[in-house]
Structure formats: C-alpha cells, structure tokens
C-alpha cells in the first residue's frame, strides 16, 4: 500500500512539474508576444538583439505550452489540444518550406514587422526552431496514440536536449555555436522546458511510463537519465570552450551529441523497461511460489494429521489385538483347567458320549488357543521397527524347516530348494513367512505327499521369491481374500487359525514388498512375494519406540 501511495505521489508531483514548466514557458512567450504587440523590442529580445524571439516562435511556444498544460491536466479538451498542436506543426512546417525552397510565404511578418537584426530572414524563426516545433507539435497532437510512443519519445527528447544545448551555447562562450545561437536564448530555454516536460509527462507507455515506476527499472532510469544527458553535453561544451581555434566543428559535434544522447536515453529506457518486466515476472513467480508453499504446507499438515490418525488407529488396533488375546486367554485357561479336572476326577463315570463331549471341549479350546496365539503374533508384527540385515534366504528357509521338522518328518514332505539370493531383510520375520507358507503347503493337501519347491528370480529392483506346492490350491476368486485376517478357505477339520497368511502379508508389506498367490501350473498353488533390494523401511505409522 505504502509503495502504491508513494508511486501516486510521485506521479502527481511529476505532473505538477510539467504544468509548471509549461506555464513558465507560456508566460515568457506571452511577454514576448505582448512586446511584439506593443512594439517594445525589450520584451522579445530579452537582452540579446542579434537573436530575438520571433512572433511565430513566441506563438508556437504559447500554443505548445497550452496544449501540454491541457494534456497534463487529464486532457479535458482533446480537440483543442490537438488543434493547438497541429497549428504549431503547420507554422513549423511552413517555415521549413520557406527555408528549403527559398520562398517567402508571408507568414513571418504576417502580424508584425521585424526590425531585422538577426542572421535569419526578417521575423522568421530559425531552421532548428522550426524543426523543433514540428517535432513538438507532432508529439502533442499524437500524444494519446500508443503506437506513436517511440516517435513521441524521440522527438520530445531531441527537442529538449537541443534546447538545452542551444541554451548552453548562449551561456558559454562557444565560438562555434553561431548556428546554435540562431535560436534565441528564451526560445532555447522554452524548447528545453517544453521538450523535457513533454517527454517526462507521466504516461502509461514509453519512456515516461517507465521513468516514474516504483521498481528497479524506474529507479535506474531516474538515477541515470540526468547523468546521461548532462555528462556528454557538458563535456562537449567544455571541449568547445577550450578549442576556440575552430579545429572542432562545434555544430556537427553538438548535433551528433544531441542525437546520440537521445538514442542513448531511449536505449536506457528500454533497458529499464526490460528490468521492469523481469521485476514483474519475478514478483509473479514469488507470489506463485508463496502460494505453492502455502498449499504445500497445508498438504503437509493434512498428511501429518492423516498419518497421526492412521498411527492412532494402528496403535488402537494393536492394543486391541494384544489386550483381546490376553483377556481371551484367561477364560480359555479356566475352561481348559476345569475340563481337565472334570476328565481326571470324573472321567471314569462318563459313558462314551460324555467322553466325546469332553474331547470336543478340548478341541475347541485348542483352536481358540491357536487363534489367540496368531492374533498376538499378528499384532506384534506391526509394533516394532524392522531390524534389517543382509541374510542368505537359504538360511531362513532352513530355519523354517528346523522349526517345522516334526511336521515335515511326519508328512514325509519333499522340499526342493533352488538357488536363493542374499537379501536385506529382518531374518526373524521372513523366517516366519517361510514357516507359515511351508506349514500351509503341508497342511492343505489331498492326502498326497506334499511336494514343495522354493525358488527365486531377480527382478529390476527386487527379488521375487516363490513357494510352490502340490496341495488343494486356492480358488483364484479367493486369491486376494486369502490374506485377510481370520479368513479360512478350508474346512475347520484342517487345523488352522486363519492368521498365518495375514501375518505373512503384514511382514512382507512392512519390508516394502508384495505377496500374492497364483494357481500352480499342475494344480496346487504358488505363493509369490517380492523383497526390495534396497528396502525403504515402512515404519508402522505413528509407531512409538518401546519404552
């Protein structure tokens, strides 16, 4: 806000300065005109009888000054402003025509008679003055056309700088400035004021659009503009003063200087404009970046909230599983204990059926016990950080076989182990995966001797490990749900808690891998799982280190 206010204030001041410059010029021109009306040379010669301010010059100065004042005050009467400007252009153009074709159109002494002491024909503004008014008039007439901005900037600058040079020529003792001196000092001052005021009048486009901006481009231009104009000119004038022997072609040098300086100013303006666009772009990017940052923060907050929720729900689930399994165990032990007591103390009093009842209680208790054990194991899988180490998979298979040695021996299962890699994993839990898969393969058979093949295959970023069996197989429509907790796909006569595969899935997923089951080519099933070569350890969400 403060920036915008400062900018507005600067524009207002600039506009006021323009009006003041134009008003001063108009006043001086008015005095000169009065001098002509009253035939009082003192009023239009301003102390320099060899270059008086001509009638038409004073008239043009007045016309352009009023036109500029109108423009600076928000252009309330565009037609009037343009009319005044075009009149100036016409006078200037006719004057140039008189010079070019060496004719007298009678406009010079149309109003008043010039006593004629100056170098130019009687009562006629100099060539430079005429050209200046054409340029200035055109600039003011075309001021509101954005496409004319380059011409306008160039013209007004030329006029302003040329006026400045002519004035400086009068002030200094520059011997080679006769041409320059043809322009009366008052005219030179007026043109300098009007040219520069017109060039600096705040506009939306072009040089003056850039120079007042509150950005680095504007600041650069405001700083360098005076130096750019003053340094070379003062240098040249100094040079002119010191070489009075006529070695230097003063007029040519100064004309070149005026043009070069103008071009230089315009190039500078372009540079500043470029800087402005970069500034704008940078501001836009920063704003976008800020917006992006805010979005990112919001998303991160949302994510962390979700993660917290997930962690809480995970902890709740684990706690539930752990508490449930403990609390379920106690009544189960009571049932088991009493049924044992019952059998021991009153077993001999039961008939055959009574004995079977007791036996069934025992079977139910066993099954429940296994489910609780599985639940406890399952809940324990999620609540600690993986303890990774580089382990040969063959060792883990061997460990599983050792654990299951009795089952394997009894079932006479044949286990074929192919070439297995070394992987980065948590050995204890991956061994449990093999143990569960091998135990399943042995459990779910059609009474055939179980045949189990274990192999591995290298993939892009992971190892694919498979455990194939010749068992009853899994219906493909249950391929996914087989890994759900307490999901049993086989009759309860086959002992199983329905937790083994969900524990496997949990272990593999915590390693960053996947597990699934495919039907075997010759019946049976093939359990496959992947282990990433470089596991990104997925921490249990919101896990708390055990205290």
């Amino acid at each position: 806000m403060i920036r915008a206010e400062r900018y507005d204030r600067r524009l207002r001041s600039a506009r006021l300065a323009v009006i003041a410059a134009a008003a001063v010029t108009a006043a001086v021109a008015g005095v000169a005109l009065v001098g002509w009306v009253l035939d009082a040379p003192a009023l239009y010669e301003f102390g320099s009888s060899d270059s008086s301010t001509k009638v038409n010059t004073a008239l043009c100065l007045l016309l352009t000054a009023v036109s500029l004042i109108l423009l600076a005050q928000g252009d309330p009467a565009p037609r009037l402003r343009q009319g005044l400007a075009w009149a100036t252009v016409a006078i200037g153009a006719l004057t140039i025509a008189q010079y070019l074709f060496d004719i007298d159109l009678g406009i010079d002494e149309l109003l008043f008679d010039d006593p004629g002491l100056s170098a130019s024909p009687d009562g006629r503004p100099s060539e430079q003055t005429a050209v200046a008014f054409v340029l200035l008039g055109l600039s003011l007439a075309l001021s509101t056309y954005p496409r004319a901005q380059a011409v306008r900037d160039f013209s007004t600058l030329i006029v302003g700088i040329a006026g400045g040079v002519a004035l400086a020529g009068h002030l200094s003792d520059f011997s080679e400035t006769e041409q320059v001196r043809q322009m009366a000092p008052v005219t030179a001052a007026g043109l300098m004021l009007l040219g520069s005021a017109c060039a600096m009048l705040p506009r939306r486009h072009g040089l003056s659009g850039i120079v007042w901006r509150d950005d680095s481009g504007g600041r650069l231009l405001r700083l360098l503009l005076p130096l750019t104009i003053l340094l070379p000119l003062s240098g040249a004038l100094f040079l002119g003063i010191t070489s009075t022997n006529g070695m230097v072609d003063g007029t040519g040098l100064l004309a070149t200087l005026v043009v070069v300086t103008t071009i230089f100013v315009l190039l500078l303006a372009r540079l500043a404009d470029d800087l402005h666009h970069r500034d704008t772009e940078r501001t836009r990017l920063i704003t976008e970046l800020d917006r992006g940052k805010i979005q990112l923060t919001e998303q991160a907050e949302e994510l962390s909230r979700l993660n917290e929720d997930l962690g809480r729900s995970n902890r709740d689930l684990e706690q539930f599983a752990s508490v449930a399994s403990h609390d379920l165990r106690e009544p189960l032990l009571v049932i088991e204990g009493f049924s044992n007591l019952l059998e021991r103390r009153y077993g001999d009093q039961f008939d055959e059926q009574g004995g079977r009842f007791i036996e069934n209680i025992g079977l139910g208790v066993d099954r429940m016990q296994k489910m609780i054990d599985g639940l406890l194991e399952f809940s324990r899988m999620g609540n600690k950080t993986l303890d990774l180490s580089r382990t040969p998979v063959a060792d883990l298979v061997q460990e599983a076989r050792d654990q299951l040695s009795e089952t394997i021996r009894r079932s006479e299962a044949v286990i074929e182990v192919g070439e297995l890699p070394e992987v980065e994993c948590e050995p204890t839990t991956i061994a449990i995966v093999f143990q569960n898969l091998i135990a399943n393969a042995i459990k779910y058979t059609d009474g055939r001797i179980p045949e189990i093949r274990i192999g591995a295959e290298e993939r892009a970023g992971s190892w694919l490990i498979e455990v194939a069996d010749n068992g009853v197989g899994i219906d493909p429509k249950f391929a996914t749900s087989a890994f759900d907790i307490f999901r049993r796909l086989h009759p309860a006569s086959v002992s199983g808690a329905g937790i083994g595969l969900s524990t496997c899935r949990r272990i593999i997923e915590r390693h960053g891998g996947e597990i699934w089951v495919d039907p075997g080519p010759d019946g049976g099933s093939v359990f496959r799982f992947t282990l990433p070569k470089e596991p990104t350890v997925t921490e249990p969400a919101g896990a708390v280190e055990p205290s």
Binding site: L333, G337, F338
Partner: protein, 132 residues
C-alpha cells in the same frame, strides 16, 4: 491331619480362576487353600490374619496391581512364599519386574496347574530344609 497341610492364600480378581486354583491345588491333598480375595486390599487384611504359607498373586487386578500389593503382603505375612501367577510366557517384562520386586516365584498362567502346585511345594520344602 488336614491341619498340618501347608496353607495357600489366593488373590485374583477372576472368580473362576480362583475356583480352578482351589480345585487344582487341593486335588492331590498336599495343599490347603485357606482364603481368597478378589482384590489386594482385603487380600492383605486377610493374609495378615490367616498367616498363610504361600500367597498366589495375580498382577492385573482392579484398585491395586499385584506389584504394588506384593510388599504389603510381605510385610503382613513375612513367612509366606509369594508366587506371582499372572500373564503369559511372552510377558517377559512382567517376569523381570516380578522378580525385581522380590516374589519367590513367577508362574505363567499358561503353565499346567500341576506345575504350579509342585513349584509351591518345592518352595515350601526349601523353607523347611533351610530352617530344619
């Protein structure tokens, strides 16, 4: 004859567990359960009065947990062997904590009752051996 049997006091909040323990421990006629409580505060009071040879103490109970109750039992019945009977084999933390608090033995609820009984008898015999 019955009066000479070593006496046991039970402290567990689950009535069926107490009933099971009572039957299980008395089954062979080597031990006698002389009292029981479903929470430690009244348990400590009764134990002070009954002066049992052994106290079987559950760890997770309402009002006061077993570990807090243990020194109180020790204080009121200094002669009694205290057996923590709680939790399950996996609860190694409890095992250590129970040992640290000076229980004479720790038995998991998984263990068969026969083992609990023989452990108590072992503890009591050790006592007789030392003193006798």
């Amino acid at each position: 004859m019955a009066a000479e049997l070593p006496t046991v006091f039970l402290c567990d909040d689950v009535p069926e567990v107490r009933a099971l323990l009572r039957f299980g421990l008395e089954e062979t006629g080597e031990l006698r359960v002389i009292g029981e409580a479903d929470e430690p505060v009244s348990g400590v009071e009764q134990a002070a009065e009954l002066q049992p040879d052994a106290v079987i103490l559950d760890l997770s109970m309402p009002l006061m947990d077993g570990l807090t109750a243990l020194p109180k039992f020790r204080k009121v019945a200094p002669r009694a062997k205290i057996v923590i009977f709680s939790g399950f084999l996996e609860d190694s933390q409890h095992t250590q904590a129970g040992d640290g608090e000076g229980a004479d033995a720790y038995m998991s609820k998984d263990a068969p009752l026969d083992r609990l009984r023989s452990r108590i008898l072992e503890l009591l015999e050790g006592e007789t051996g030392e003193t006798g």
